[in-house]
């Protein structure tokens, strides 16, 4: 009964991709079409109209003849349809056709742009080209995918990864998308940093701009203003150190104390994660701003002039501490729990007292984790955009500087690119340190074996200060969130304290008219866009993240380390840098998607993918590899194994990836602010716009609504994904 696919002549998936290639080439519009999904193009002159024509028609009527060679690559695979997989010709033809087709498609896309050839040497070689082409559309995309997967079929047939088509295709797919949407834009941006005003590239022009005093100046030591790079660095180091200490304090209270309301404390530390980053900045303004509660009452009490002291380093620092301490906490709770209790118990039986145990065993074992938390805080602070924008005052940091270089009056792409390079240098440096210096020094001692011990409580000398810090910080967090809630229902902060729902009404008004429901609130547009885009991005992020995690944990292939590094890299790329890079790369053909919703979805996928990868890796390494192997020996192929065995057991990781990418898509601002357009405005950028117009009430009301929406969404996702019933024995000895 069992069919052995060696005997099978053609893989059905191969047939699918061959057909897809032809559909992309002969039916779908080759170039980008606005409003593709409305399908108006179908009745609007397709297939002959130039704008909507598929490649086959264009070539047929003698236009865009450079698209013609791809026909060869589409036709060649038809030859192997009848052949066996083991036939060497099968693999050779597919590799040649897929490889050539893909390479040609990329080359013509990069080589021919809006004004004919894009490079000088192409013109010298082939003469001037009178034709031009726009950004690629769905036709090109489908055909390109078909070429890519024909190629991976060929590679698999040659025996790579045991001839596994699913795995080779997954690797090929991930490499392709990461290259296109991470490496390509970053490269474009690096090139832009070397660009001169007249459109050429110059290394000599780069250095004076790079070493500009506005970036690296040290005037603040002598009373002036320092360069933005130093500002960012100072801020990031402070944030890194302080978030690590605060996070550690929380982690210690949770694991090494008899504190009873641990769940509450955990909830409190998780709250900032579902908060748009700049909202905390807003609350800080409500508290400490010129007309802030604390400022005015202190001013009244001591009779001093209220100042704007909060704007600048102190404000950003406080806001970022509030925002990023939970991240440090989440890293450190793992580390602090990971120190095996039996080690601490061993130390105690060796006559160390609690303080000595902590100092000589627990603390040294936690040290690598602390460094890890520091670097994460450092990277997050460097990348943060919202808080410096709201609270920065005269304290410029790299991320905001980049923004003003692009959108401000200066509109200096090259300066933005150079600042982005500096920022990227800092974060990549930290990322590199984290991976290659700390990656090998983890002392986490959790093994598969049950560890019956319990962590000893903290020594008293440590416990009291830690309790004090945690209590103060918790109270402060509560006040800040109270402010957010309260601020959203106050008429005009600091001036008119009457309570009102006015802001919510302005934002979220719904009118019932004869035409039916009308969403008349000013926030609805951006709200629904955000929801749609977050809903689209979350499952895609989770999917690509988990597939990557599967490849990294379960498969071995050449270049795996580079593959891993590449996929985790986008974690270290600040959103502002991604934003700038995307604008530079995707504003022109071959991929012209700025101003669309697509670019937002894509930017979220690649910004948040590393988290999906990490969640996936963490839970996949908990699954014994013999589960996969037994599924394989039972006749399931690797895709069936992935779907039937691994995915169901990964539900917690899927949930984590979905929740995280959804929340991040709702709260992100740094990359978004470059990529939004009038048509696709996101909540966060809308709110920032309100803040800039000093419309704090509306901004805070909207933010509060977002927080509640996210809480609801997280709960809903939890229900949808559900729990995998693995079952645990409840009592022993009942079944034998």
């Amino acid at each position: 009964m069992r069919t052995v696919s060696l005997e099978q002549t053609t893989h059905p998936v191969l047939i699918f991709w061959i057909i897809a290639g032809w559909v992309g080439y002969c039916i779908l519009p080759w170039y980008g079409v606005e409003g593709f999904w409305s399908f108006e193009w179908l009745v609007d002159g397709w297939p002959l109209d130039d704008d909507y024509a598929p490649a086959a028609v264009l070539v047929g009527v003698g236009q865009k003849l450079w698209l013609a060679p791809m026909l060869l690559a589409l036709a060649a695979p038809l030859l192997v349809l009848g052949r066996r997989k083991t036939d060497p010709l099968y693999a050779q033809v597919l590799i040649a056709a897929g490889g050539f087709g893909f390479a040609w498609l990329v080359a013509q896309g990069l080589g021919i742009g809006l004004r004919g050839f894009t490079a000088e040497w192409l013109t010298t070689l082939f003469g001037t080209l009178d034709d031009r082409q726009f950004g690629m559309g769905y036709g090109a995309m489908v055909t390109a995918s078909a070429f890519l997967f024909l190629f991976t079929h060929g590679i698999a047939a040659r025996g790579a990864i045991n001839g596994d088509v699913f795995v080779t295709s997954a690797i090929g797919g991930v490499i392709a998308v990461v290259t296109i949407f991470v490496f390509f834009p970053i490269t474009k941006m690096l090139l832009a940093a070397f660009a001169t005003d007249d459109g050429g590239y110059s290394v000599l022009g780069f250095f004076p701009k790079f070493f500009d005093d506005r970036i690296w100046g040290l005037d603040c030591l002598s009373g002036g203003r320092c360069g933005v790079a130093w500002n960012s660095l100072l801020l990031a180091v402070l944030v890194g150190v302080l978030t690590t200490l605060l996070g550690l304090a929380f982690a210690l209270v949770l694991t090494r104390s008899g504190f009873r309301y641990k769940r509450l404390l955990r909830a409190l530390t998780v709250l900032p994660i579902i908060t748009p980053p700049f909202v905390i900045g807003l609350a800080i303004i409500l508290l400490f701003g010129l007309s802030g509660t604390v400022t005015t009452s202190l001013a009244a009490m001591f009779g001093v002039e209220a100042t704007r002291w909060i704007y600048g380093l102190p404000g950003i620092l406080i806001a970022q501490l509030l925002a990023f301490t939970p991240i440090a906490f989440l890293v450190l709770i793992g580390v602090v729990e990971g120190v095996s209790p039996s080690m601490e118990e061993a130390a105690q039986t060796l006559r160390a007292n609690r303080w000595q145990t902590f100092r000589t065993v627990s603390w040294p074992l936690m040290r690598p984790g602390l460094a890890n938390a520091f670097l994460l805080g450092f990277i997050e602070s460097m990348a943060d955009f919202g808080n410096p924008l709201v609270l920065g005052g005269n304290f410029d940091v790299l991320s905001t500087e980049i923004f003003f270089a692009i959108v401000g009056a200066q509109y200096d792409q090259s300066r933005a690119a150079i600042l982005a390079v500096v920022l990227l240098g800092f974060t990549l440096g930290a990322f590199y340190l984290q991976r290659f210096w700390l990656g090998r020094k983890s002392y986490t001692t959790v093994t598969g074996k049950g560890d019956a011990g319990v962590h000893p409580p903290m020594p008293n000398g440590l416990a009291y200060p830690v309790y004090a810090v945690v209590a103060l910080w918790s109270a402060f967090t509560l006040v800040v969130y109270g402010m957010i809630l309260y601020g959203s229902v106050v008429q005009l902060w600091g001036v008119d304290d009457t309570l009102t729902f006015k802001h919510y009404l302005t934002a979220f008004r719904i009118d019932w008219t004869e035409d039916g429901l009308r969403w008349t609130g000013s926030a609805w547009d951006s709200f629904w866009t955000t929801m749609t885009i977050a809903t689209l991005a979350a499952p895609l992020t989770a999917a690509i993240g988990l597939i990557t995690a599967y490849l990294l944990t379960r498969q071995t292939f050449a270049g795996k380390r580079a593959f891993e590094f590449g996929t985790m890299l986008s974690f270290a790329i600040p959103g502002t840098v991604i934003g700038v890079a995307y604008i530079l790369a995707f504003n022109v053909p071959p991929i012209e998607i700025t101003g669309t919703g697509l670019i937002l979805v894509i930017s979220f996928i690649f910004r948040n993918m590393p988290v999906g990868v990490r969640a996936g890796i963490a839970s996949m390494s908990q699954l014994d590899k013999s589960l996969d192997e037994s599924s394989l020996t039972l006749g399931a192929n690797s895709w069936q194994t992935f779907r039937a065995v691994i995915l169901p057991l990964l539900r917690p990781a899927i949930l984590a990836a979905l929740v995280y990418s959804f929340v991040r898509a709702m709260t992100a601002i740094s990359a978004v602010i470059f990529l939004v357009s009038a048509r696709y405005d996101m909540s966060t950028s809308y709110i920032i716009g309100r803040v800039e117009n000093n419309d704090y009430g509306l901004a805070i009301a909207y933010s509060t609504a977002l927080i509640f929406v996210m809480l609801a969404a997280v709960g809903l996702l939890q229900l949808l994904v559900g729990r995998t019933r693995i079952g645990r024995r409840t009592s022993h000895g009942e079944i034998h």
Binding site: M1, V4, L6, D164, L627, L634, A636, L649, G727, I735
Partner: protein, 360 residues
């Protein structure tokens, strides 16, 4: 009701090697044949390459060199999915999120059976291992022995050409181990399955196998029936690994046809020469084949060093001029005491000659 039938096929290795990276050779140029319908055990200490060999049959590892045949078909390049082989894992690898029934039906789903057939086969499989009625349980709701049987049923229902067992009993307690291995053997013989079985437990191997392949350092040390291996080990390694053996240095002083005369100190003993030349050799003697008599007699004089009473028999450590040996005697009523002078001799059958130095 649909039964479970066997489509047993042979397995053949032709000069197969497996090299990890460039340096680590896990399996070095192995050739072997498993006849259809037999149970062959791969036996050896940990790290000897037996599990790698098994995984190469399954298709979970690919041979670096050489060819592997199942039946008459060359499967060297085929991945696990496409081989008609199923495997019972040491950890059982039951899918924790599926019921027993779903676990057993899992492979059938991918083999082109319709729903009714799948169900019948799965039920038949569960019946075969004595778990009828357990279909709705989750693996975690079963005892270790039951989980093991589910794993066997899951592999059996596919009617594989070859069934593989990777140390299937190592997670069971001693009593259960004997029972389950007898069940496995019984099913194998009733259905006429080809089974390749990996273990490091020599007693288990002797009990279940038609043939045993002893492996050492990535190569085959010896293969043969349990009796052949036990009674005629090729070298000291096999002699010692399969049941304990005392290895006593001897001199072959005369050869008469197939019979050798060996000298140990002043004592001579005659036994089959097994093709060994004159000169130094080793005599492998099972502890139970040692004869001890009190006082001085025909044999090698020795002194009792340790005497241990273990209920059904006595165990002695005895020191003679050539070294220390271990002996087991059935006489528990009048045991020797520590310090007693005894004379060692050997049972007429049992002791075998093996080469003096280990082949490397």
């Amino acid at each position: 009701m649909t039964g479970i039938n066997a489509k047993a096929a042979s397995v053949r290795f032709e000069n197969v090697s497996k090299v990890y990276g460039t340096k680590v050779t896990a399996v070095d140029n192995i050739s072997l044949e498993v006849r259809a319908g037999t149970l062959v055990t791969l036996l050896g200490p940990s790290g000897c390459g037996k599990t790698t060999t098994l995984r190469m049959i399954a298709g979970l590892e690919m041979a670096t060199r050489g060819r592997i045949f199942i039946g008459e078909k060359d499967v060297t390049k085929l991945p696990a999915t496409d081989r008609d082989v199923s495997m019972v894992f040491q950890s059982y690898a039951l899918f924790p999120h599926m019921t027993v029934m779903e676990n057993v039906s899992y492979g059938l789903k991918f083999s082109g059976f319709d729903k009714a057939e799948t169900k019948d086969k799965a039920l038949a499989g569960l019946g075969l291992v004595g778990l009828t009625g357990y279909g709705d349980r989750l693996p975690s709701e079963l005892s270790g022995g039951q989980q093991q049987r589910v794993a066997v049923a899951r592999a059996l229902v596919l009617e594989p050409q070859v069934l593989l067992f990777d140390e299937p009993l190592s997670n069971l307690d001693a009593k259960l181990r004997r029972q389950v291995r007898e069940e496995i053997r019984e099913i194998q013989q009733n259905l006429g399955l080809t089974v390749v079985y990996v273990t490091h437990d020599q007693e288990e191997a002797l009990a279940v196998s038609d043939e045993i392949v002893v492996m050492r350092n990535a190569a085959i040390a010896q293969k043969g029936t349990p009796r052949e291996l036990y009674e005629a080990p090729a070298d000291a390694f096999v002699a010692d690994f399969i049941g304990e053996a005392n290895l006593i240095p001897v001199d072959i002083v005369a050869l008469d046809g197939d019979t050798a005369t060996v000298r140990i100190a002043d004592y001579t003993h005659r036994l089959p020469s097994r093709g060994l030349p004159q000169g130094p050799a080793k005599l492998a003697v099972r502890p139970s084949r040692m004869r001890l008599v009190a006082g001085v007699g025909d044999g090698v004089p020795a002194v009792i060093d340790k005497a241990t009473y273990v209920g059904s028999r006595m165990e002695y450590t005895v020191t003679a001029a050539f070294g220390t040996v271990f002996a087991v005697l059935d006489d528990v009523t009048t045991p020797f005491r520590i310090g007693d002078a005894v004379t060692i001799s050997f049972a007429a059958s049992g002791p075998v000659l093996i080469p003096a130095s280990q082949p490397s």
